[in-house]
Structure formats: C-alpha cells, structure tokens
C-alpha cells in the first residue's frame, strides 16, 4: 500500500458509454506534510540518493506508470 496515494470514487452513471473506472487516484507528495525540512533526517546511502533524486527517505515520492492499467 502506497501511503502517498489517495483514492476517490467518481460518479458512475447508469448510461455511461464505457466500462466505468470506479476508483481514481492522485498523489499527495511528502512535501505537503513537511513543508519545512526538519534537521537531522535519516539519509539514503550516497549511490542510492543519486539514483532516487533525494538524500532523504522522508521526501522520496515514487510514481508507478499507468500505462499498463487496463491492459490484459
């Protein structure tokens, strides 16, 4: 479970033309919850930080592609 993902349930009408998407999601990145960085946060190793784009796990925001959604 990704705790940066929020779900909502859009209205689904009785006469919608396409098979409904009952759940939609949006991202709430960690900078929303700690908008001023506290000192002495836990750090990634340097190689890992270079790969992820941030030194601090508390500010890392993963994103998964939606490309495969709906493909069988």
């Amino acid at each position: 479970m990704n705790n940066q993902l929020r779900e909502w349930h859009p209205y689904v009408g009785p006469f919608d033309p396409c098979p409904p998407m009952r759940v939609k999601t949006y991202i709430v990145p960690p900078n929303l919850f700690a908008p001023f960085q506290p000192a002495n946060l836990q750090q990634y190793s340097l190689p890992e930080a270079l790969r992820l784009g941030t030194l601090w796990p508390a500010y890392y925001s993963p994103y998964e592609s939606r490309m495969l959604e709906g493909r069988s």
């Binding site: 919608d16 396409c18 959604e69 709906g70």
Partner: protein
C-alpha cells in the same frame, strides 16, 4: 446576475464507447466558433449595441453556456473511463500529457482558446454580421461532427444543438432588420 438550474438544457446520452469523438467535440468546447466563444462574444457585445437588441444578445449568450455544459458532458462521458492506451488511440495522447483527462478550452487540434477568436467592433451591423457568421460556422461544425459518429444518441443531442444554431442565426438576422429600421418607414410612391 444569473440563476442556475442544475440540469442540462437537453438530455445528453452517449451510448457508444468511442473516445475518438471527444477530440472532435472539443472544437465546440474551446474552438473559434465553439460555445465558449459564442457565449463570451454575445455577452460582451451586448453592452455597446442599441437597446433594442441588447436583450437578444443577453438571452442567446446565456443559452450558449447551457450548450457549453452539454458539450462538456459529452466529452467527459467519452474520456472519463479511457485508459492511457485508449486516449492515445483517440488522438488525445498530447492532451493526456498536458491535462490528464481534465477538460480544457482548446480546438480540435489542441490550439488553446484565445480572445482573438472573437471580436467586438462597436459597429452594430458589423457585430451582428459576425454573430450570424459564427452561428452558421457552428452549425456546419455540428454537421461535420454528426457525420463523424454513428452513435445515434449522441447524434440526437448534436442535432438539437445544430437546430439551435439555425434559430440563433435567424434571430440575429431579425436584429439586423430591426436596426435597419426599414419596416417602420412610411413608403409613399
């Protein structure tokens, strides 16, 4: 001041899952002769037009917003359940890049709405002739979109909107006749 009724002017039924048509419908949403252009054009021109035709521009401009809602409903119904693949296949890949599945005021080719689409010349005849031309162009656009879908329920609402363009054009032509003030002239030969 407006009073809002939380219902559509005419029911919108979309029965075929065909997101491709959404791309074409966007022309009537944010295109040069779309409903947004029409509403803003008339509601803006009404300030500087002779009193006798202000009410006409007010009423038609207001109705155009009702049409805008109908178009938005069609586009939303056609795109809300589309996957990324389906958006791409519908020609809406670039739209997805910029807007996800949000609606946006562009024409069918993705050109964003601009005030340069509309005009206010201050000359009542010039303005009314522009309005007549806009109605005829919108009527033609509805015809071409009706040609591009075989969903009879979608066609039904589009045919209603097309007919409204015909009537609006007629009313603007009548407004020109009123301003010509020919009919009140006593003609003695």
């Amino acid at each position: 001041m407006w009073i809002y009724e939380k219902k559509l002017q005419y029911p919108v039924r979309v029965s075929k899952c065909d997101p491709r048509v959404a791309k074409y419908l966007i022309e009537q949403y944010g295109g040069a002769d779309g409903e947004l252009s029409a509403a803003l054009r008339y509601l803006n021109q009404r300030y500087s037009i002779p009193d006798k035709v202000v009410g006409l521009l007010n009423d038609i401009g207001t109705e155009e917003f009702a049409h805008l809602e109908m178009i938005a409903t069609m586009i939303y119904k056609l795109t809300k359940d589309a996957t990324v693949d389906q958006m791409e296949a519908a020609g809406l890949g670039a739209h997805y890049t910029i807007h996800d599945k949000a609606l946006y005021y562009t024409n069918a080719e993705g050109v964003p709405w601009t005030a340069a689409f509309i005009q206010a010349k201050g000359d009542p005849i010039a303005d009314l002739y522009e309005d007549i031309a806009a109605e005829e162009k919108a009527r033609a656009t509805y015809q071409w979109i009706i040609d591009q879908t075989d969903d009879v329920d979608l066609q039904d609402a589009l045919k209603f909107l097309r007919e409204r363009e015909v009537i609006h054009s007629l009313r603007f032509r009548e407004a020109v006749e009123i301003l010509k003030a020919e009919r009140e002239q006593k003609k003695v030969f």
